[in-house]
């Protein structure tokens, strides 16, 4: 009788342990599916002078004029450009990124450019205040059906930001390269996509200890305007 009882207790324990293992496995699978997947890849940017940017002449003159208007020396302005294999041309200029320079007072100024537009120059320190550490300008253009087909993200990060990650539509995440001017304080990043699955949804900035210091939701910014 005692032996039977011991057997039953043993079987129950084994069953409970088995159920526990199954639950743990299910929880692990759920966590893997539900959470953004690790930022394994890095979206790189390149930095070069305006003279080496290969801008169409009329655009080159326009950017130089806007830079001078903002008190920047054209020769000192750098172009931070997105790099992406297979990126489709979505405007008269085939790239997106930022024009960055430093004025006479030492302030870093930024202009965001897309394949179809560029913004006036704004002080980086004012931009990063908008979301408490980062700001990303999102540009988008339609595909053949009129839905969003091309997205470009151009961003600025506070000096305290050590890493920036982009969570995408398919819940994968990618780290972006942070570029700086020589002796620069702020960092700049870019990201482009022609695939709805990898369109950016959320930009997250991490501090030096790995804690999230700021984030910006850009999912609505890339959708066509609705009526």
């Amino acid at each position: 009788m005692k032996e039977v009882l011991v057997h039953r207790v043993g079987r129950t324990r084994a069953l409970a342990a088995g159920v526990g293992v199954l639950l743990l496995a299910a929880a692990a699978i759920a966590a893997i599916v539900a959470l953004p997947r690790g930022a394994g890849a890095t979206a790189p940017s390149s930095v070069r002078g305006l003279a080496d940017a290969g801008l169409p002449p009329v655009l080159d003159r326009a950017v130089a004029s806007a830079a001078e208007r903002a008190g920047l020396d054209r020769a000192e302005v750098r172009q931070v450009t997105a790099h992406a294999a297979g990126h489709e041309r979505a405007g008269i200029y085939d790239s997106a990124g930022l024009y960055v320079g430093r004025n006479g007072r030492g302030s870093e100024l930024v202009s965001f450019f897309s394949p179809a537009s560029f913004s006036s120059f704004v002080e980086a320190r004012n931009l990063v205040r908008i979301n408490g550490g980062i700001f990303a300008s999102a540009a988008s253009q339609p595909d053949a059906t009129g839905a969003t087909g091309h997205v470009q993200l151009m961003g600025v990060a506070d000096p305290a930001v050590g890493r920036v990650e982009i969570e995408r539509a398919d819940r994968t995440a990618v780290s972006v390269e942070l570029a700086r001017l020589p002796r620069g304080r702020f960092s700049y990043f870019t990201y482009v996509s022609d695939d709805p699955g990898t369109f950016p949804h959320l930009v997250r900035a991490f501090g030096s200890s790995g804690e999230i210091v700021a984030q910006q939701d850009v999912s609505e910014d890339v959708k066509p305007p609705s009526d």
Binding site: L59, F112, P115, A116, S119, Q141, P142, D227
Partner: protein, 134 residues
């Protein structure tokens, strides 16, 4: 007598509440209609048109370049965008308010404007400049 006085007081309170509600309630329909569309005429006012109609004050000008800017400050950012003459969407860029966006297009009938993507209730003061200012 006392009951009648109470009823009068109740009626006064109800009437006053209704009057206050009418005053501070939903914004006039025109303002709401304006807010979900785009483009403000140079003269100001509240004449917005949905992009697909092709109505716009910001017709393309001068062969290369058109500049748009929104100066409202309730929200931190604004969508500035680009449409074909018929109103179909060609592109947009999200920037902080009071930042100029210079567009480059080779199609002389293209149009440009601003769209408040935060809420359908916001009046957006969108300027445009014929020929880019850079």
């Amino acid at each position: 007598m006392e009951n009648r006085a109470k009823m009068r007081l109740t009626l006064v309170i109800v009437a006053a509440s209704a009057a206050i509600a009418a005053t501070v309630g939903p914004t006039a329909p025109t303002a709401r209609a304006c807010s979900s569309y785009w483009n403000v005429p140079a003269s100001g006012g509240c004449t917005y048109y949905p992009p697909y109609t092709g109505h716009a004050e910001t017709g393309f000008c001068c062969a290369f370049g058109e500049t748009t800017r929104a100066t409202f400050d309730t929200f931190s950012t604004i969508l500035q965008y680009w449409a074909a003459a018929g109103g179909s969407w060609k592109g947009q860029q999200n920037v902080p308010y009071d930042v100029y966006v210079h567009w480059y297009s080779s199609v002389s009938s293209d149009k440009f404007g601003c769209h408040n993507h935060h809420t359908g209730w916001m009046f957006v003061n969108c300027h445009h400049h014929d020929g880019a200012i850079w």
